[in-house]
Amino acid sequence: MIGVAIVLVVLATLLIGARGVAAMRSTSDFLVASRRISPTLNAAAVSGEYLSAASFLGVAGLVVKDGVGALWYPVGFTAGYIAMLALVAAPMRRTGALTVPDFAEARLGSPGLRKLSAVVVLVIATLYLVPQFKAAGLVLTVVSGTPYWVGVVVAGVAVSITLALGGMRAATYVQAFQFGLKLLLFVVPALWLVLTVGADTRREALSPVEFTRFERTTPVEFRLDTRLTITEPTPVSLSGAPVELLGQGSYAAVAGSTWTFAEGADVPDVAGAVPPGGEDWSRPLLDPAGGHPLLATWSVLVATVLGTMGLPHIIVRFHTSADGRGARRTAAITVAMLSGFYLFPAVYGLLGAVLLPELYLAGGTDTVVVALPARVDGGWVGEVFTAMLGAGAFAAFLATSLGLLLALSGAISHDLLPGTTLRRLRSTTLGAAACVVVLALPAVNLDVGVLVTSAFAVAASTFCPLLVLGIWWPRLTARGAVVGVVVGLVSSAGSVAIDLLLGLSPGLASILLGQPALWSVPLAFLTMVVVSLRGRPPAWATAAMLRLHLDESGPGRDR
């Protein structure tokens, strides 16, 4: 059934793309189509492109894994549009630049900065794409029982087919439709779950108790090699073998093995993980057990709020507004639309912590949204809702991945390689999709929400200072911008890479390396300002900045 639902999503996407193209008859229709798109429709398109698998699956998964504090992620994802609205939306639209590399050249006149910005686009898009493919592979794995790598490859093939058939033509209509679809497929199952689970489960979800004993015979399918500590003799059946009593000690669960714990058995401890429902888990701050909850919460918020304005697939969307005012309205309406959507991940997270707490042992918390309906209703109703959520998650994956792949291949073929042809643009896109599939294969043990946040951290440390200072500070020089972007890129992407390689246990070092925005963003701003002050901006710099703030309704504008 889920396969049918996913095929329906892809077909609907293609159909709307085709209809949108048919509605435009001539070249000029195509080029000025943007002028007729209302801010509301455009905001739906922005939200459609923005709500990725990280929002659809990742946030609820992080709530099960890390606790209620994970609900700060969507707050940051939404608040980013306030920063966009106040600082970037209208002036950016007035530059006529579609991408940050375009902006860099339009405002500062530096081809070198353009190339550098294109490299940053590559880094951000890759960090953002890998978790999308991971999530898609995981969803397919959960619902069809195939190995993870098959799921990832199938997701890559689905994206490539959609691209080849032109599914992203008339992209505004497609993305606006995707937003409506995702909202429907997320909200309706959530309401059904809340009504179906019964009063007892609802009460448990709001007054959680620590997950210490299995309440029923529970099979746990380990997705990663996991180190378990068993503190009292525990009856377990290993991969279908007869039940045996495991004594005290440390055990290694191999990835792919299934341990079936008997009813009433003690839950083993997992190093570095907080069992759902405990006191630490219930605190509404991130990383409550690590000892620095405020620092952890702030660094995620700084990254997401300031990173939103630098996401390559979102900035392109604002160009579809008629003018600066339209772009600003789009950003404001987007805040309202996202706020509606982000009220619901909490429902899945809290119910998941009560009904499927064992996912935290298995390293499979990202699947909690899709796994919940079957846990609540074993019959066809549960199957229907599983299919709905699977299709929604796949729609989320598809919308964001297509937008990112186009931004990525645009950066490669427009900014990095000489001599653009349309055919090459298409082949670059397919090549990029293949690379991401390869990168997603070893990423199975990374949290979707966390990896996406590191993409935000890189965007916040590079493009945020470039855009904010470029738009609001006339003294910014090309040299200052280049040095600042390099410092921001190296410090943010470098420390995320070090954190991934070292795999530090929770603590101060892990927060500062894994979520570097709190120090790397000020560092990038400072570098840009100091280097700029030591040079002189060109004579036209003030005019280049001021004209970004002049509204279109005034006279004397040359377009």
Binding site: R25, S26, T27, F30, V68, G69, L71, W72, V75, G76, T78, A79, I82, A83, L85, A86, L87, L98, D102, G109, L206, R283, P284, L285, P293, L294, W298, L301, V305, H319, R325, R328, A331, A332, V335, A336, S339, Y342, L343, A346, G410, H414, D415, P418, T420, L422, A543, A544, M545, L546, R547, H549, L550, D551, E552, S553, G554, P555, G556, R557
Partner: protein, 136 residues
């Protein structure tokens, strides 16, 4: 559509710009502003900057301050509103109830800087004065 119409390759503006630039190897335009526009633009720029900073200040109070409140008063976990811990509502619902009005507020103020000046400037020799009267 007439049968003699030539086929035209439709590309994104980005592609078009990139192709033009590659062929000619020069900047498409050097930014310039008419002297009267410079004055008006300065007025709009200052007004918009003030408004943007005010909105960001409210946002900063929310995302810096709310975690501090939750960290300082763990007792909020025990207080319940309609069965839900108040501290959970403070993360799951409250921020959105602040963000949506904040977006609306900032949008209205930013547009107010532009709208009257755009209309008035056509007959007005002193654009900055128009910006000033444009405020409530």
């Amino acid at each position: 559509m007439t049968p003699r119409q030539r086929r035209v390759a439709v590309v994104s503006p980005q592609t078009r710009l990139a192709m033009v630039r590659r062929r000619t190897g020069i900047r498409v335009d050097v930014p310039h502003l008419a002297p009267t526009d410079v004055e008006r633009a300065r007025g709009v720029y200052r007004a918009q900057l003030r408004r943007a900073l005010a909105a960001l200040a409210v946002l900063a109070v929310l995302i810096v301050g709310l975690p501090v409140v939750l960290a300082l008063f763990p007792g909020l976990d025990g207080v319940r509103f309609a069965g839900v811990p108040v501290s959970w509502l403070a993360v799951a619902v409250l921020p959105y109830a602040v963000l949506v009005p904040l977006a609306w507020w900032q949008l209205r103020r930013a547009e107010r800087v532009e709208r009257p000046s755009g209309r008035a400037v056509r007959g007005d020799r002193h654009p900055t004065a128009a910006v000033r009267t444009g405020r409530p």
